[in-house]
Symmetry: C2
C-alpha cells in the first residue's frame, strides 16, 4: 500500500499511475477467464517499444502462445508448478533475445553503418548484449502489461535449452522468460517485503 510519505516528494507521475504500474500491481499466478486480445498486445508493444536499449538494438522477441498445439509444446518445457499456472492463463508469452539483432542495425541505428559487420564477427558479444538489452525490455514490458490493466506472471521455472531447441531450432533466439498475461484473480498472498533504501543505495 502506498503511504502519504511514499508520495510526498520527488515524483511527477500521478498517484493513480503509480498505483497501476507499481504500488498496487502484483504478479499473478491465477487468472480470470477473460481473454487478452491481439489489440491489447499491440497497444502494450506500441507503448513499451520506446524504452531505451543500447545502440537502439531492440533485441526482444515475443512469441504469443494461444493455440492448443503450441501450448502443448510449451507445457512440456515448464516445471510442474508453472504448468498449472499456465493452463489457467489466457495468454502466455515466450520472451527471447534475438542474437542476430545486428542484422537490423542498418535500419534502427543507421548513422553507424559499419556496426553491423563488426558485430557479425563476434557472436559471443552479441549474445551478451542481446540478453542484457532484451532483459531491460522485459522490465519495460512488465510495466506495459500493467499499463493495459492486466497482470503479468513471469516464470523462470522452465528448461530453457529444451524450449530453445524446440521453438528456435535456428539458434538465433534464446529464451529468457516465460510470462503469463491476463486479468488476475483476487490476490491471495500479502506482498513480500522490499529492501529498504539504505540496504540498496550507497552514496559516495
Amino acid at each position: 500500500m502506498a503511504t502519504a510519505t511514499d508520495r510526498a516528494a520527488g515524483l511527477v507521475l500521478d498517484a493513480a499511475a503509480q498505483d497501476l504500474l507499481f504500488r498496487q500491481a502484483r504478479s499473478a499466478s491465477e487468472f480470470a477467464d477473460a481473454p487478452v486480445s491481439e489489440a491489447q498486445l499491440q497497444a502494450i508493444y506500441g507503448l513499451v517499444k520506446y524504452g531505451p536499449t543500447a545502440l537502439n538494438q531492440q533485441p526482444l522477441r515475443i512469441i504469443a502462445v494461444r493455440s492448443g498445439q503450441a501450448m502443448e509444446r510449451l507445457m512440456r518445457h515448464l516445471n510442474e508448478r508453472n504448468r498449472g499456472k499456465t493452463a489457467g492463463a489466457p495468454l502466455t508469452l515466450i520472451l527471447a533475445a534475438d542474437i542476430d539483432f545486428h542484422e537490423r542495425l542498418p535500419q534502427v541505428f543507421s548513422h553507424a553503418p559499419g556496426l553491423r559487420d563488426v558485430l557479425a564477427a563476434d557472436r559471443e558479444d552479441r549474445v551478451t548484449q542481446a540478453r542484457f538489452n532484451a532483459t531491460l525490455q522485459i522490465g519495460y514490458l512488465i510495466v506495459g502489461v500493467r499499463a493495459a490493466g492486466l497482470a503479468a506472471g513471469p516464470m523462470i521455472g522452465f528448461d530453457a535449452a529444451a524450449l530453445d531447441r524446440d521453438f528456435f531450432p535456428g539458434g538465433s533466439l534464446q529464451s529468457l522468460l516465460v510470462m503469463n498475461v491476463g486479468y488476475p484473480r483476487a490476490k491471495r498472498f500479502a506482498r513480500l517485503p522490499r529492501l529498504a533504501y539504505e540496504d540498496v543505495v550507497q552514496a559516495m
Copy 2:
C-alpha cells in the same frame, strides 16, 4: 510522438503518464545544471522497488556518485565519450548486481527457509540470477527516473572488470550499467526508429 491510433485501444494508463514514461521520454547525454536531490532518488526507489523479481531476490544495488573523489575514480573506467557526458551530469549511478543476494532471502522470501543454503552452494547460478533480475530492475529504474520528471542516460561504454576491481574489491557486486540522471537539455536528435509489432511479435 503519440498518435491517436497508438492510444486508441488497449491501455488503461492515462495519456500524460504514457508520454512521461515512454512516448515523450528520451535518453539524455547533456543535462541542465539543476541538481538531483537525495529525496528524489529516495522517491524513485520507493516506487520502483515494487517491480517484481524472481524469488523476490531484488539483487540490484545502486552506488550514487556525487563526490569529486568518487567521480574521479569512476571517470577512469569510462570511455572518452562517456566521460564527457558524465562530467556534465548532476548525478551518476553505478548499477550493480549483488551476487550474494541469497543472504537476504530469509528476510525477503521467508516462506522458503532452505533456499539460502541451496543458493549458497552454487555461485555460478547466483551470478546468472543476480545479473538477470538486477537488469529487470534497471528497466524499472529507468521508468522510475522518468516518473520523477528526470531523464536517464544509460551507458555501456565502460570497463566493467576494472570498475568492479576498484569499487567492489570484495567480489560480491558486479556492475551492469553506469547511468547519468538529471534534467535534460533540449533534445538534439530525432528519435531513432523502433521495430514494428510484426517484426517483434509472432503468434503461435
